[in-house]
């Protein structure tokens, strides 16, 4: 990837993101979307071809869905919409994982991420729902700086990857190994299972314990909070909602 392409992608992406991010006004979002799409196209187009047209097209579709929905997840005002777009991002990611041949992981992403984590997120969003839309959702904090930093980081990463690519040997280690032993089995899920429970058994058990601990912890946090609230009645009088220390405009 030439330097100019990289720089152009970075600049376009930064401008696009800046326009897309909630800045307090509606203007510029469409232009932002168009610019973003262009930048995305430049990014994906700079990748070397994969081989078959089917594979290439599928990859591009999945990548576009993922990145586009990610951009939307970041830029929408209503947090619930952000969560929904994130769900689409997860589907895109799952698809990419399936594309790689990590079927179990793809399924796990949907089940766990989209099914559990996202749902929890939505629960909390609903519980913490402001009456109208909150001001803090409609204005970003340091939008241009954030956009710039993020895209510059992406540019640096890409530069690193492209230069690593040049330094890589002709044959990937996978191809080299494939001649020596059997390729991954027809049921890679079982292979994954076998791998997990043989070489990474201890880590799996520890992960299970971690989950248990997180569960207990979450319950404890809420219970303690509820207990403290029962003991110390809040000084706010009925009808007087709790206020933060500073006045925040809500509308």
């Amino acid at each position: 990837m030439t330097t100019w392409l990289l720089v152009g992608t970075v600049v376009l992406g930064a401008v696009a993101l800046w326009l897309l991010l909630p800045r307090g006004r509606k203007a510029g979002r469409r232009i932002g979307a168009v610019l973003g799409a262009v930048a995305l196209g430049m990014l994906l187009g700079s990748l070397p071809p994969l081989g078959g047209w089917f594979a290439q097209g599928l990859f591009w579709l999945l990548a576009a869905v993922t990145l586009g929905s990610a951009a939307c997840a970041v830029s929408f005002r209503n947090p619930v919409y952000c969560a929904v777009w994130f769900g689409l991002t997860l589907f895109g990611t799952a698809g990419l994982l399936f594309f790689q041949g990590a079927q179990f992981l793809g399924a796990a992403t949907i089940i766990i991420y989209a099914g559990a984590i996202l749902v929890t997120l939505l629960f909390v969003l609903m519980l913490a729902n402001p009456r109208g839309q909150a001001a803090y959702d409609r204005r970003a904090w340091e939008a241009p700086l954030a956009a710039t930093v993020g895209v510059v980081l992406l540019g640096l990463f890409s530069t690193g990857f492209f230069s690593t690519l040049k330094a890589m040997p002709e044959e990937t280690p996978a191809q080299a190994a494939a001649e020596k032993r059997q390729p991954p089995g027809k049921y890679p899920v079982s292979a994954l299972g076998a791998e997990l429970f043989s070489r990474h058994l201890v880590a799996v058990e520890v992960a299970g314990t971690l989950l248990l601990a997180a569960l207990a912890g979450a319950v404890a946090v809420v219970a303690q909070h509820a207990q403290r609230e029962q003991q110390e009645p809040r000084p706010a009088a009925p009808g007087q909602p709790t206020r933060p220390q500073r006045e925040l405009t809500v509308r």
Partner: protein
């Protein structure tokens, strides 16, 4: 019976033990009996000193008949005296007791090794001084029992006095310049403690400080002199030391150097070095012996108890300077010009102090200035740099101790009877109330004025004769100086007689006046106080007759034997001309005083008016305004310097320190804006750091 060493140690150690015991047991146990350790100890020291002198005298060889100037050798040989290389000249005799080696430091960078031995010596000079110190000390201790009777600090007084006697004994017994300096300071310390004995009186505390500080100035010169001595001669011992391998490490005043044809060989390097060393030592002597310009502390030292004034500031401590010059006489003799300074300062001081004493109204102050004047006489004698002068100076020291101590104790008796008042304007006509005091005081005054056959006559005569002889020796050149000083001495003798008898007549004659503080106990003190007066009167009367014994006795001291060799023993025989002149001066002064103060007191007043008009009266009464001059020249500039340094310290030094504090805080203030409390700000900072890290890492693949 007892060996020399034991006696010497007894003399020295018993007052020290008494001081320690009195300090330890005085407050609780001894209280009103606190005088006992000091009394016993000083008595023991006196007995030991007498024994020492007796034993030493038995050991002394016969003197050669007549020592002429070097170059005219005598034929006398004796068995036991040490002789010089030519075997012709007597070099004196000494006995050294080495106690321990205090310090032995290896030399570095070409300097000689520095060795200090704690050694005591016995020779005739030491014996004489020990006798004087301990005898006067004992009498003063006895007197103090009566004088300090009701004082709350009774035990403290005797502890200090015992300490002083110890220090003074050590001062005259040590055989090393460094140790001499140590005990020089020790007597200065005891003087400070005793002057400021009644420390709650501000005048006394200030006087103590003044004495110590002025002495410090002198001690500074003394120290420099000691340094110069060591750097020139490589040793500070008086005596020669025989090393293990038979070699002789010469001492400053030892026979090795004094017996050379050219004394000290070439060790001094240049004549200037000798002169400078001698002058520096003399600066120390000026400080301790209250010569001009360092005499200002002695009159103020009268704030202390009167027995202290008698002991320290009349008889013993102030004579330490004279002792030092006599001890270092070989150097003065070799220096060729230092002794001129000594004589000039001595003569000047004698005249000046006598002038100031003419108008003082405080009896003790009169006696203090008299002491300064008499010390001037002693230095005048020493300044002739002849054997006769040296011996005359020492002889005057000997007699002066007696009659000055007598006068001071008599003044103390007056003060005791008058309830602490010593201003002569406030009392008078006391001779019927205090007869014993009167007669002993009169005797002392006659001795001081120099009336034959009392002690002062013989010694003052010896001093003036030595100066006169020196003047005649070299009529042109320095003979003029000595002739002038001779006449100065005569005028001072006139003034001495005048102010002494003025004091006598004002105090004891005329109409009787008793101040209120006397409270009706204006009578003689207890026998503790009167017996020493009587004994000292005997001494003041008879000490002069010992001149014939003291002079040859002193010739056995190595320093003085050297002087005898160099300048001859002087003309033996009575100097009628000098005696006649000095007696005339004395009688004239007495007559003048009698006329003014016995007969015509009104004449005094009108004369005072005239002199006041001529500023002479003010000059005399105001002590020549030297204190004021010193205040302006020294005290005020030092105060200003102190103030300036205080300002510097506050603003510069403290400012620097505060600056460091401010710097740290400013540095912290630079970084403080990073702590905003916003999570996103922190994340941004982390990411920026990550960016920089990545960018620097990626320079490698990008080249």
């Amino acid at each position: 019976m007892f060996s020399l060493d034991v006696l010497l140690l007894l003399v020295v150690a018993s007052p020290l033990a008494a001081a320690v015991v009195t300090a330890a047991l005085g407050p609780r146990l001894l209280r009103q009996r606190s005088h006992l350790p000091a009394l016993l100890a000083v008595a023991l020291s006196l007995a030991a000193a007498v024994g020492l002198a007796w034993q030493w005298a038995k050991q002394l060889p016969a003197l050669p008949a007549q020592e002429h100037h070097a170059g005219q050798a005598t034929a006398e040989h004796t068995q036991e005296g040490k002789h010089d290389a030519a075997g012709d000249h007597y070099l004196g005799r000494e006995h050294v007791l080495l106690l321990w080696r205090w310090a032995a430091v290896q030399g570095a960078w070409g300097t000689a090794p520095f060795v200090v031995d704690v050694a005591l010596r016995v020779d005739t000079l030491t014996c004489l001084m020990l006798l004087v110190v301990n005898l006067v000390g004992l009498l003063v201790v006895i007197y103090s029992v009566g004088y300090m009777h009701d004082d709350p600090g009774y035990w403290r007084y005797f502890s200090y006095v015992a300490l002083f006697v110890f220090s003074m004994n050590m001062l005259v017994s040590v055989s090393n310049f460094l140790l001499l300096y140590v005990f020089w300071e020790a007597v200065g310390l005891c003087s400070y403690l005793l002057i400021g004995f009644w420390y709650q009186r501000p005048a006394a505390a200030d006087a103590g400080k003044k004495a110590f500080l002025v002495n410090r100035v002198g001690d500074f010169g003394f120290a420099l002199g000691v340094f110069l001595l060591w750097s020139a001669l490589g040793t500070l011992n008086f005596h020669d030391t025989v090393l293990a391998d038979g070699q002789v490490a010469p001492g400053v005043l030892g026979q090795h150097w004094l017996s050379m044809p050219v004394p000290y060989g070439g060790a001094w390097g240049s004549r200037t070095a000798v002169v400078v060393a001698c002058l520096l030592l003399f600066v120390g002597a000026c400080g301790k012996s209250a010569q001009f310009p360092l005499h200002v502390w002695l009159p103020d030292a009268m704030e202390g108890p009167t027995p202290v004034s008698a002991l320290i500031h009349a008889a013993t401590m102030v004579t330490a300077g004279v002792y030092l010059v006599v001890r270092a006489a070989p150097m003065f003799l070799v220096s060729q010009s230092a002794h001129l300074v000594v004589a000039a300062i001595g003569g000047l001081t004698a005249l000046m102090a006598a002038f100031i004493a003419l108008t003082q109204t405080d009896l003790k102050r009169v006696l203090a200035y008299s002491t300064v004047s008499q010390l001037g006489y002693m230095f005048l004698a020493l300044g002739t740099a002849s054997f006769a002068g040296l011996v005359a100076g020492m002889f005057h020291l000997f007699t002066h101790a007696f009659f000055k101590a007598l006068l001071f104790l008599g003044a103390g008796s007056v003060m005791h009877a008058m309830g602490g008042v010593i201003d002569m304007n406030r009392f008078g006509g006391l001779r019927r109330r205090l007869p014993l005091t009167y007669w002993t005081f009169l005797l002392g005054a006659l001795a001081l004025a120099g009336v034959a056959p009392l002690a002062g006559f013989w010694s003052k005569d010896a001093v003036l004769a030595a100066v006169h002889a020196r003047a005649l020796e070299n009529p042109l050149g320095e003979g003029y100086l000595y002739l002038t000083l001779y006449y100065v001495g005569l005028i001072a003798a006139l003034m001495t007689a005048f102010y002494t008898f003025r004091a006598v007549f004002l105090t004891f004659h005329g109409e009787e006046r008793i101040p209120e503080e006397a409270h009706g106990h204006a009578h003689e003190g207890p026998w503790w106080m009167t017996v020493p007066l009587v004994l000292l009167a005997v001494g003041a009367a008879g000490a002069g007759l010992l001149g014939g014994v003291v002079t040859p006795w002193l010739q056995h001291t190595p320093s003085l034997a050297f002087a005898a060799r160099l300048t001859g023993t002087g003309h033996h025989g009575f100097h009628w001309d000098v005696a006649a002149l000095s007696t005339a001066m004395a009688l004239g002064g007495m007559a003048l005083a009698a006329w003014f103060y016995l007969a015509q007191r009104e004449l005094v007043r009108s004369l005072a008016e005239t002199f006041r008009a001529a500023m002479l009266y003010q000059l005399s009464y105001g002590k020549l305004f030297l204190d004021e001059i010193y205040t302006v020249m020294v005290v005020i500039p030092l105060r200003v310097l102190g103030w300036v340094l205080f300002i510097l310290d506050q603003f510069l030094i403290d400012g620097l320190v505060n600056l460091v504090g401010h710097l740290v805080r400013a540095l912290g203030g630079l970084f403080r804006p990073l702590q905003t409390g916003l999570v996103q700000f922190y994340a941004l900072a982390m990411l920026l750091g990550l960016l920089v890290l990545l960018a620097s890492l990626l320079r490698w693949p990008l080249g």
